[in-house]
Symmetry: D3
Amino acid sequence: MGLNEFILGLNNLEKITRAPGFFKFTEHTVAAHSYRVASIAQVLGDIEENQGVSIDWKTLYEKSLNHDYTERFIGDIKTPVKYASKELRGMLQTVEEKMTDEFINQEIPEAFQEIYRRRLFEGKDESVEGEILAVADKVDLLYESFEEIIKNNPESVYKEMFVESIHTIKEYGHRPSVQYFFQEIFPELLNRDFYGREVFLESVYKIID
Amino acid sequence: MGLNEFILGLNNLEKITRAPGFFKFTEHTVAAHSYRVASIAQVLGDIEENQGVSIDWKTLYEKSLNHDYTERFIGDIKTPVKYASKELRGMLQTVEEKMTDEFINQEIPEAFQEIYRRRLFEGKDESVEGEILAVADKVDLLYESFEEIIKNNPESVYKEMFVESIHTIKEYGHRPSVQYFFQEIFPELLNRDFYGREVFLESVYKIID
Amino acid sequence: MGLNEFILGLNNLEKITRAPGFFKFTEHTVAAHSYRVASIAQVLGDIEENQGVSIDWKTLYEKSLNHDYTERFIGDIKTPVKYASKELRGMLQTVEEKMTDEFINQEIPEAFQEIYRRRLFEGKDESVEGEILAVADKVDLLYESFEEIIKNNPESVYKEMFVESIHTIKEYGHRPSVQYFFQEIFPELLNRDFYGREVFLESVYKIID
Amino acid sequence: MGLNEFILGLNNLEKITRAPGFFKFTEHTVAAHSYRVASIAQVLGDIEENQGVSIDWKTLYEKSLNHDYTERFIGDIKTPVKYASKELRGMLQTVEEKMTDEFINQEIPEAFQEIYRRRLFEGKDESVEGEILAVADKVDLLYESFEEIIKNNPESVYKEMFVESIHTIKEYGHRPSVQYFFQEIFPELLNRDFYGREVFLESVYKIID
Amino acid sequence: MGLNEFILGLNNLEKITRAPGFFKFTEHTVAAHSYRVASIAQVLGDIEENQGVSIDWKTLYEKSLNHDYTERFIGDIKTPVKYASKELRGMLQTVEEKMTDEFINQEIPEAFQEIYRRRLFEGKDESVEGEILAVADKVDLLYESFEEIIKNNPESVYKEMFVESIHTIKEYGHRPSVQYFFQEIFPELLNRDFYGREVFLESVYKIID
Amino acid sequence: MGLNEFILGLNNLEKITRAPGFFKFTEHTVAAHSYRVASIAQVLGDIEENQGVSIDWKTLYEKSLNHDYTERFIGDIKTPVKYASKELRGMLQTVEEKMTDEFINQEIPEAFQEIYRRRLFEGKDESVEGEILAVADKVDLLYESFEEIIKNNPESVYKEMFVESIHTIKEYGHRPSVQYFFQEIFPELLNRDFYGREVFLESVYKIID
């Protein structure tokens, strides 16, 4: 009933697969996703800093590394379920918070409980670091879905994920890292040949411009 | 926008793994689970009929075969989440019903909508067939978790599943098939050697008796 | 030596992969296939009933759910082997029947043996339900092989399976459900974009018309 | 329609899993099995030569490397089916030979057909090399099943495979390599700790002595 | 030729499996390992801070998150190879550094090259954060190997890894987090039942005391 | 400490995956690769013999079957690392030889040590059989990478492997089997339809001619 339980919980996150139910060429676990999001947040943080924004790196790393740890308790609830109504979303969040709280009270030694309370609660707030996390989470989804698209995955859900990612990233268009992403990184990513590329790119550019 | 979508949806159920997040020696998909539950319901139905209970076989097969089809829409929401509060459970059910309804309206031809409305809504009602489905669902969980236990799976969740299954099955102790199960089938299942068997069996028999 | 063995046997069917030896993007087990065939038979049964055909639902579900259970004993013998000669086919069937009989005598309690004798023997007879099962089995193969084709699986065996399925389904062209399938469901299935689509569709339509 | 087809066929053997239908901790393909049997035949050949037996190495390697290539055509027919009757076994062998013959006539250039006729037909004849192949095939099965046993695989089939392997190897007790195997190699293999070891070893030694 | 390549490289780390060649019940990728090590370093950092040690969190997260990124270029070279001679170890390190340097020069925009030079070079230096990384890397190996041991994995390599981890962690016995680990976390981890537990624990406690 | 260890080592080779780190549709193990290379060497040996070259078959089989056994000790060191400098390559080879030597001294009975010394050391010498092995190793890589290419694997590494294989095979253009391969076998292999075929073939033919 100490920190051992927190570490053992990492095992669970290596066993939860993202986007269950859909055919995919490459499976991603929540553990690998967390690693990827923290690494992408790091890339974005560098860009922001390079553009003169001051970054609280401890917060950025902490937020991004731990942002999905609580999926261990509540699992990967499907987006359409989560967003079915504002009320349901609120209730699910309450359940998540209750279960997280219970975990902290039972498994984390008192000396560290305060830290875990901060660490395991939703990190996507309105701070610079919260915004970068929100962007990094979607950049990862964008890479993940694009990898399926270039392999001609026939499930339409990956095109929807890709488009949805772009839309969400665009909402943070005021962030220098987002501007840099669309100018320098995204065009490089798209620069690959695959069947149906022209039609796909056309529809993508319609969204960005 | 016809029955093709219903058939394609079976693919999704072959890709949703039960009990995500836990180490397991054998993965079970929702599709395979549905096959198992229908087969077990068939076994239980035979027993009931043999004891003089009249079975509506069409209903029994239909209920058991389709009882988890809607997981395609809402996924496999974790038990502790589902049962966090009566209110939440009600709301999740409302969402599930809404999504199922939407699917039926959009994808099923009018001539068949009524049938699917019956088929895709929760089958565990208080009819004989609804009760048999409830038992079959837990008998499957019991076999599934026992297979992990005899392989010495160290995750305690499988012992919890096993015990929980027994408890639920016992609630239907008035059903002849449940009495037969505990007298004739269950002892045969337990009759295997594995490390920790004595301690395990002792705790099991405490529940049954 | 009772019904426990029948239930344990379901495990084996979750571990037998269809079409062994060929590269495939999606593996299907005999358990999942059985679930799919029962679900497809259900779709076809609805259509028949809607067209005024009287369906014995108990028989239809029973036949389709159990039609491959005996693969547990004899495995998945390759089609070219099975059909090498009428004589061999007869002998293999005799072996299958013998092994099934032995299983029933040894593992099924006397009170249920008669039922299992009916249940585990070849269901594709000339009854309406037997014909629907034969069609459903091939519709599943058609969906299975088409999923590989749209992912550009280079193994030619999937095109052969697809074509063979259509041919067999067409043999049951007198069934209302088959007519409905080719008019309403099949065109929807084909309506996806993939490399080599035109050439493929042309060859398919040559068979249907 | 030349040697390319023979090479492509190796792919199929990398995709056929041995002992389909049973739970296993480690899957073995026919390709890996062929590699193992050729390597074990090599070990046995060394021992024989060391004891003064003259070995035709070309034949030994050729027989062991190719002994299961034809599974590509006929699949892995279950032992109880194969041995159901002498007549059936004869007929299955005829089918296998016919399919192999057809493959050779259609896919192998004339200049090499004679070689493949020798190579792809049953290698377990009564020559020294044929006997070594028969032993090597069973030594591999013995290692394969023992690996499952020490991991406490609850499927009884692995103990049956293990025992059956010992019995068959013992039939070749006149071969110096078999005597060496039981004296020098087998005791080393058994020298591992696992749950149920004493009971298991006792039953094993009863067979050997 | 910008940051896109760095992000795409994360894919490779999701596809490199740790400890190749050995049977394992649970596979771990380098990506998941990196996530785990960063999370464990976080736990250790909390403990140190709680004991009055000042932690540079940016450095700790950066070191732990990126410490194996270069495995993308050089792969997972086996420990006995790496440590065969001091000279070889030096040369391998030179190669790694050269390849990393090349990657940075070719793929990272100039403005960020300095940062990546720091980030992708060996982080286990003699700073507090470098020491915590070294400990976290071994704590992860210890958890990883212990999970195999309690499942009775017969490969002796996991016991060697476990013991080696303890030895290395003990070398950092001057760190408050290591003292806390052995007093509070480790005993909780060991507190599980498995076959051979007594013998195993005895050998473990001989090392620690 | 006898031949048992050599046989157990085959397990390791069934667990080492080729080309770790890259997305692939089909995984190949070192065990399966060894089987394939021995089978391809056999094909090439036939061709050479047919053209009047005298083949020492024992040597050819022995070399090809065992050529990667030592990967068990040193793993699959990435090509760019291995070839980083002549000096490093020399040192890695020394390590490999030392580890192999140690294995032979400790695990192989004296009577067979001489044989294993010959068998486990690099087989690609300048003999006819050594050259055929070198070609067979690359023909396998060519088939392996081509299978990825026709499935539109977006990783460029497979095109590089394919091209590199052709270059190496061409270096042995004086061998009759290589001439036959490019005239009779290779064109058959290329004769499949896939997206991007024209551009790909053009670039391939530029190399061959």
